[in-house]
């Protein structure tokens, strides 16, 4: 099974001003735990280097 959303995060154009080689998203943030669990499960099975965190972690500056 693939997840096109996960692939899309991996494919995103690098942000302007980023050093070369930094492609794709590093962190995926959401307030929805079940959504994060599903995508993280697929990403990890695909050995993709994406970190999934909850928005509460962003708002509170941690833990990461």
């Amino acid at each position: 099974m693939r997840d096109l959303v996960v692939e899309d995060f991996l494919d995103h154009d690098p942000l302007p001003g980023q050093p070369a080689g930094v492609e794709g998203a590093e962190y995926v943030v959401s307030p929805d735990m079940s959504c994060l669990m599903h995508q993280q499960g697929i990403a990890r099975r695909a050995r993709a280097d994406l970190k999934y965190i909850h928005v509460a972690q962003v708002l509170n500056g941690g833990p990461f």
Partner: protein, 465 residues
Amino acid sequence: MSKEAQVDVAANAGLFILQDPVHEPMHDKFLWNTMQRRNAAAAAIPEWEELRKLASQIKEHTLTHLDRYLEEFESNATKLGAKVHWAVDGAEHNNIVYSILQEHGVKELIKSKSMLQEECGMVPFLQHRGIQVTESDLGERIQQLDGQPPSHIVMPSIHKTRQDVAKLFARTIGTDPNNDDPHFLTEAMRNNARPRFLTAGAGMTGGNFAIAETGTFLVCTNEGNADIGASVPPLHIASIGIEKLVPRVEDMGVFLRLLSRSAVGSPLTQYSSHFTGPKKDGELHIVLVDNGRTRRLGMPEFWHSLKCIRCGACMNTCPVYRRSGGLAYGATYSGPIGVILDPTFDEFKYSELPFHSTLCGSCSEVCPVKIDISDQIYKWRRVMAKKGYLPLAKRASFQVAGHVFAHPEEYRALTKLAGPAMEYAPDFLLYNKALNPWGRDRELPQLAKQSFREWYLANRSSHGS
């Protein structure tokens, strides 16, 4: 009279996914690409969100004054020579169409796409009475030849590969089974359908919109098949749901700018055709159909579904639909809009549909007329639960979950146990395909050593309360 069996949409989706490694990923990819084209088209219009708001408001205004606008439409259309009929339900619609065809001695009919006619079961009804009916839209014809209903409201055969179509055409219209080039297949259909346009005694269309101000109705296609069907045979019959009304000509600017961009990402369909009264030397019949729409109008939580302009954007954006294929839903309407419409046709039969969703809310975001689809899906779950339509296993597990979530100390105790349990449980149990479908394609989550709450209490709660 026995109830129609419940549609097991999850099982149907499973069959679609597991049939081979080709069909579901292809279906997923095509609709994802279509969604991305829609996103690009929407982003290119600075006033996109304002158009959505206007469209929603125009529809809400029309639906809260629907009797007035229907009478105005009827009056204007009749003045210009159209014959307007009214059908309470699908059966009456079919009878009206059949009697018009009989009066004119029509034995062959060619039609363009109409979800309403699909709803009414018109084609089998007419065929049983000896009328040859040909679908002229390529996707609909493919489905007709295969004895299947359409799976998507804009691309009816998008669940089929080109090889599927090639084999089907070879079987039914005698083409080369090994030539699966879409250009060849389209040309084959063009040549197969064209003679039927020329011999048909009547052409039928649906109606995307009906303008009260002028008695005009629109038919939007990319193939132009509706236009051939309306312009060649002398008799044109149009089936139009009563919710398709818009008040004024100027309103159409808003809707047409939204429709095709939402559907496939192009500014317009190749043909946006406006019919007002019969053509020269021709006859035009319009059948206005209720078939449950007035009942839906009276549902405070669900009447906004009547705003739908049948663009299909909700289907393209829905991760569940993309993987399930439209046929899994077992209904005329599939995808998110289907989930909120179908229970109004048969609550028990479609009681599983509201659970075939992640409630991600993307459908509500892309809907050009701002139907609160995701919220309505949730509300239908409440209806199904109250009516006792949930299967026993779900009812039981929801009750347990409800209890645990209502007692925070129990919740915390259970999660504290879950971490070590998962760490020490053997993989063959955790990833057992029968016991735990989750593990079939995903890694199970690793629970953190410290929960967020524990971290917060330790690090943040001293900063004010």
